[in-house]
Symmetry: C2
Subunit: 405 residues, 2 copies
Amino acid sequence: METSHTLQLLTTLFLIFAAAKIAAEIFERFKQPAVAGEILAGIVIGPAVLNWVQPSDITTALAEIGVILLMFAVGLETNPRSILAVGKTATSVAVIGVIIPFILCAGAIWLCPPLLGQPVPAIEAIFVGATAVATSVGITARVLADLNVLSHKASRIILAAAVIDDILALLILAMVSSLAQTGGINWLRLGFTVLTALGFMAVVIFAGQRVVQKVGPKLQKMRMRDPLFLCAITLCFGLAWVSEYIGIAAIIGAFLAGMVLADLSDQSHLLHKTESAVNLMLPFFLVNIGMQVHLDSLAHPGTIAAALLITVLAVLGKYLGGYLAARKQPGRIPAQVGMGMVPRGEVGIVAAQLGLALGAINQRIFAVVLFMAVATTLIAPPFLRRLFAGETDAATDETPLLRVE
Amino acid sequence: METSHTLQLLTTLFLIFAAAKIAAEIFERFKQPAVAGEILAGIVIGPAVLNWVQPSDITTALAEIGVILLMFAVGLETNPRSILAVGKTATSVAVIGVIIPFILCAGAIWLCPPLLGQPVPAIEAIFVGATAVATSVGITARVLADLNVLSHKASRIILAAAVIDDILALLILAMVSSLAQTGGINWLRLGFTVLTALGFMAVVIFAGQRVVQKVGPKLQKMRMRDPLFLCAITLCFGLAWVSEYIGIAAIIGAFLAGMVLADLSDQSHLLHKTESAVNLMLPFFLVNIGMQVHLDSLAHPGTIAAALLITVLAVLGKYLGGYLAARKQPGRIPAQVGMGMVPRGEVGIVAAQLGLALGAINQRIFAVVLFMAVATTLIAPPFLRRLFAGETDAATDETPLLRVE
């Protein structure tokens, strides 16, 4: 009726959804991960190739809802105790996995100005390092769920490490942004953010579970339609909002909301309903990552070389960090953990956009970082699939994502 | 991470969802329809009262997705034969229900300039008539589904009439817009739109079902996750897009997509998954209607009087039209049909926005029409509830919307 606006929205919805599902089907047939296919679908229909759909406020919002629901569903399958049990290993995976890629990527940008045809200021190198630290837990979580290995020890280490790593990345980003804006770091404010984040997580995990155990069974007495699912979604949006408000990422709040509900007796009922919502919204998240790519900003050969170099270092840095920190774990766990931390995805993209907005990095470095963020999300899934081969159960439509015990 | 944008989105998501669910719960406790509660929640948190959330491109997009999914779910429960069986009655309900409110509302605006303190040009009166003709099938469908009476004959007449009525309303709107823009009507183009719309519906209903019966069972062999649900959603977005493209509303395409799948053996499985998606997205549609209201544009007593007058005429006109056209039906059916056609909701709002954009109506008339559109969606549900009382089955969370046989 109000033609142009609605029609444009519908074109976007249909093209993104159809392209994502066609790509997912093709990739699965060739035994490749659907996640990589859906990101590639975004590159193909987005500005990089066909330019049928462009990223907009609306695609970004749908993407955000998609990843929030995904992390909520992953949280629903994650028992808090199972996460606390791997806390020590996960913390070192996160810390070492932040330090190594930061040094490698910042160092490379700083030491290799010839590739970019211009000297690179220290702040720019530091910003690139910062964009290289945050794992995109969304991508890995989806691959692990698709492989039905969310209950494995390696998966639990990855999930816990990715949450800690996200918080570390946000702190580093806050430091670097403040450095770029004012030339200094407000340690007091930073310390306050750390304390707020830790306090929030502790309150949610320890108090939240008790409240849920008491309130949960009473929800079914409510009169509204489907009270359990709709109250759960309200909690998910609510904690995502609080997380973002106090300076940690929305997806952490969504993950915590899920985790708090993981012990509920109706958990499987809830998980089934959430999965439909995830399946509906997640394609927008994956396709939106691919749509960020602009091939023309990589046209300069030096830029391509720099992008490849940074990508290799970003992969190696995370892989080594994870591998070293988890080296005492048996079997393939060190390699699984290392590879599981590799995808940067939307977190790296958001950090790069912030750097560009602050004037801390230029367009060319932005293209380099964007390339790295998308490439790492495409590289990791096939390796993860191989590393978990033989450990996976046959996933059928009726089996929900596995439960973490 | 990219603070302001994401935080604003999360605030919007959380406030809309929480307000809608709190209102739904309160209304259900007082035996009032949840739909009315959720629209009122939008008035309360929107610009009219608290101004915590404002309508934006994003809320509009989420609202659109919500109503598309709702109409898809309603279609899933609607057997095409059951609709064709009531075709004759439904057509006269639609036609008479378009003529009477058009004449009443356009006539009132034209004859009562004193209320608005200025003479009203004929085109403005005609536009008001046009905004008064289109039933918001979304609101009625949700109320009928909540009451578990979608299978009743009255419900089938209402659904079929609302689809026809939507097409008539779009044709009238196209005529009126062209009249406002060029002073004349392009009959050739209008005839082309009518033929395209009828052809599209015929092809989808007759050919679509056969294709689905053949292709449907093969979908489960696909490798992607949850192939049936995701292919169904792709079909839904696809037909919604085509409908909008050829000039009929997106929700008609979504409804047809659902109807084509209604005979599938996995229909109940599909309906369950779709319901979760509807429950997630529909609050955005209902709250968004309420958020359109600005009380200050009604501040002039003449405007309020005109708004009340137009609302009364809009209600009476639709009720009488439906009642007269269905008068040969037994029992309470004529009254149920009449009341079921009353809500105007988003269709009236969109028509009014178009009129404002074209300069065909002024701000004051816009406020009048907006009031009418929202008021009719609030008035109808409690009456519908009463009119269907005693004919409803107990709805539980686990019972899907009833099947139309």
